[in-house]
């Protein structure tokens, strides 16, 4: 039985549909990431799940039991959960008291409060800040206080809304370290919203893709990143080569696809004549300056049309009759002497292509 379950959950604000027909199961001990662009409804879904607001329609079940819309039972269920907001607010009191308030509201006794708060502060590395006024902390420290405050009550489900969205890289990795520890040691059930795809990939067991208020796909990180269900999901998860084509031949599960006058070979179950999209991740494309240096089934020559550096990587766009975008390291780009206008070879494996049906 799922720990948390939604049935046809919908939310509307002022007649405007924010969430559509969300059916979701979160199992005990699972880390579930919600990814999606800003405004997709991630925060709204978390707020509904944490019972902070009421849905327009649909149901939420906790341990298989329907959560009532008001009353004591709802509060009891909410007290088995915790929510860390995107921009957490700390109360004007000491760090210790901030972390302790959740326990005090649950009527925990003095000695156990002290023990639990000390543990939680140790966990987020803020033990020595115990007596500081929480309002004087930095953004990253505030975030960690908020996490300690949420964890101290030993929630059965922890909701995290963009836990690192407003943090610098150092604070981000500190917060991620704490989360990874909690996931491993406490076997916590976590539902987190993030627009950082790689964070979802690093921490989650399953990912749900929320776009425009609809849950477009749910699956393992690998499924989501390598086999997106449609072009919207593909674009969101960084599949930057989305090619339109038609299957012209089929041999077992190896298909030949016509793309803008070129032929591509891919692994797929679709039949001849089917209109399709072929998704290729930029990381799966290899660039060389000579032919026949790879075992990949697909190799095209083309001219470099654009190059720009992103951190340690260089993004290269090549015109092979259709546009292909790939990434290589800065060092390789220099060694291979790539430049705009230069003729190079781009190759990718038939298995690196994910094919989906295109409705025409």
């Amino acid at each position: 039985m799922a720990l948390l379950e939604t049935v046809n959950l919908e939310q509307k604000y002022d007649g405007h549909q924010v969430l559509k027909d969300i059916n979701l199961n979160v199992n005990r001990g699972e880390v579930f990431a919600l990814i999606g662009p800003t405004g997709a409804g991630k925060t709204t879904l978390l707020r509904l799940l944490d019972l902070l607001e009421l849905p327009a329609s649909g149901k939420i079940r906790f341990e298989g039991v329907h959560v009532p819309r008001s009353g004591k039972h709802r509060l009891e269920i909410r007290r088995r959960m915790s929510f860390v907001q995107q921009k957490p607010l700390v109360f004007t009191m000491s760090v210790y008291d901030n972390v302790a308030c959740g326990l005090r509201w649950r009527r925990e006794g003095g000695e156990s409060v002290r023990k639990k708060v000390d543990n939680a502060l140790h966990l987020v590395n803020l033990a020595e800040y115990s007596n500081r006024n929480a309002k004087t902390l930095s953004g990253g420290e505030t975030q960690r206080v908020a996490i300690a405050r949420a964890l101290v009550t030993e929630p059965e489900v922890l909701f995290l809304d963009e836990p690192t969205a407003n943090l610098d890289p150092v604070s981000t990795s500190k917060v991620e370290e704490v989360l990874a520890h909690v996931i491993k040691e406490r076997k916590a059930t976590i539902v987190m919203a993030t627009h950082d795809m790689s964070q979802g990939q690093r921490l989650a067991d399953r990912i749900g893709v929320l776009i425009g208020g609809e849950m477009l796909q749910i699956g393992s990180p690998n499924e989501i990143f390598c086999t997106p269900k449609n072009t919207e999901v593909a674009e969101l998860v960084g599949v930057e080569n989305i090619l339109k084509g038609v299957i012209s031949e089929k041999d077992d599960n190896l298909v030949t696809i016509q793309v803008n006058g070129s032929t591509i070979q891919a692994v797929s179950d679709f039949e001849t004549g089917e209109a399709i999209y072929a998704f290729i991740r930029p990381e799966d494309i290899t660039f060389t300056h000579k032919k026949d240096l790879t075992s990949a089934r697909n190799m095209f020559s083309g001219k470099v049309t654009r190059m720009h550096q992103v951190g340690p990587l260089v993004r290269i766009e090549v015109d092979c009759g259709f546009n292909l975008l790939g990434v290589i390291t800065k060092t390789s780009a220099e060694e291979l002497n790539f430049d705009i206008g230069r003729k190079i070879y781009a190759s990718f494996k038939a298995t690196a292509i994910h094919v989906i049906r295109r409705w025409v």
């Binding site: 902070l52 915790s82 607010l89 109360f91 004007t92 509201w105 649950r106």
Partner: protein, 230 residues
């Protein structure tokens, strides 16, 4: 000028030697003003929370109305209380006119609008997210509201101080419903006003010095308290 200077020195002497009349008037003034402030606070804090945390039709108008009463003249309140508690008034049977009790009642009416308005303003000044944050980590509605009030505590202290300041410094109401009866309802402001008109400036100056010192001490302590958490 020498008369004033001599008056000032004698006033200091009265304070330093703990003159019984000065002590008695100061004590009564404090008791009446503090009682009014506490009772008004006990009314305004829950009432202000009720108004702030509920959305209802006419809320804005109600708040505007409360703000209008900030500057209601003390003599107007004095007149109303006088009429209510006078022998032929609706509460005349209680025979409270010219007693310290009725002075407290009058001061509560006088300072409640400003305390209520400032309590509402203090609660509105708290980050909207505070209530929801509390709920999100397991507070019941009541606990969340208590937390918001706690977050507004410094502004609420200011509201109490403003009320206390208005109560201790007003003279019209105290004179009208208290009657400035020596040893019974005479407070600092009524004493100063009477003694000055009688030409006895020594007592007036002594009480004036105490009144101003009290204001200074209270405000200083409040700002110290606020600074500790800023």
């Amino acid at each position: 000028m020498t008369a004033i200077w001599e008056g000032f020195l004698k006033a200091l002497e009265l304070i330093v030697t703990l003159d019984p009349e000065v002590l008695e008037i100061t004590g009564r003034t404090l008791v009446i003003s503090i009682a009014s402030t506490i009772i008004a606070g006990l009314i305004c804090l829950p009432l202000g929370s009720l108004i702030h945390f509920n959305n209802f039709h006419g809320k804005r108008t109600l708040i505007n109305l409360i703000q209008t009463f900030y500057s209601v003249p003390t003599v107007a309140v004095g007149l109303i209380v006088f009429l209510i508690f006078s022998r032929s008034g609706p509460l005349g049977f209680m025979e409270l006119l010219f007693t310290p009790q009725v002075m407290v009642v009058g001061q509560i009416i006088l300072i409640s609008p400003i305390m209520l308005g400032l309590v509402i303003a203090a609660l509105s000044g708290v980050d909207k997210a505070a209530h929801e944050t509390a709920v999100a980590i397991g507070a019941s509605q009541f606990q969340a509201i208590t937390m918001v009030i706690r977050e507004a505590r410094f502004a609420i202290y200011s509201a109490l101080i403003m009320g206390f300041g208005r109560a201790i410094s007003e003279v019209g109401l105290a004179l009208m419903v208290g009657g400035n009866i020596r040893g019974y309802t005479r407070v600092m402001t009524t004493a100063i006003s009477l003694e000055t008109s009688k030409g006895d400036i020594v007592l007036s100056i002594a009480l004036g010095i105490i009144l101003i010192s009290l204001a200074l001490i209270i405000n200083f302590s409040l700002s110290r308290l606020q600074q500790r958490w800023r």
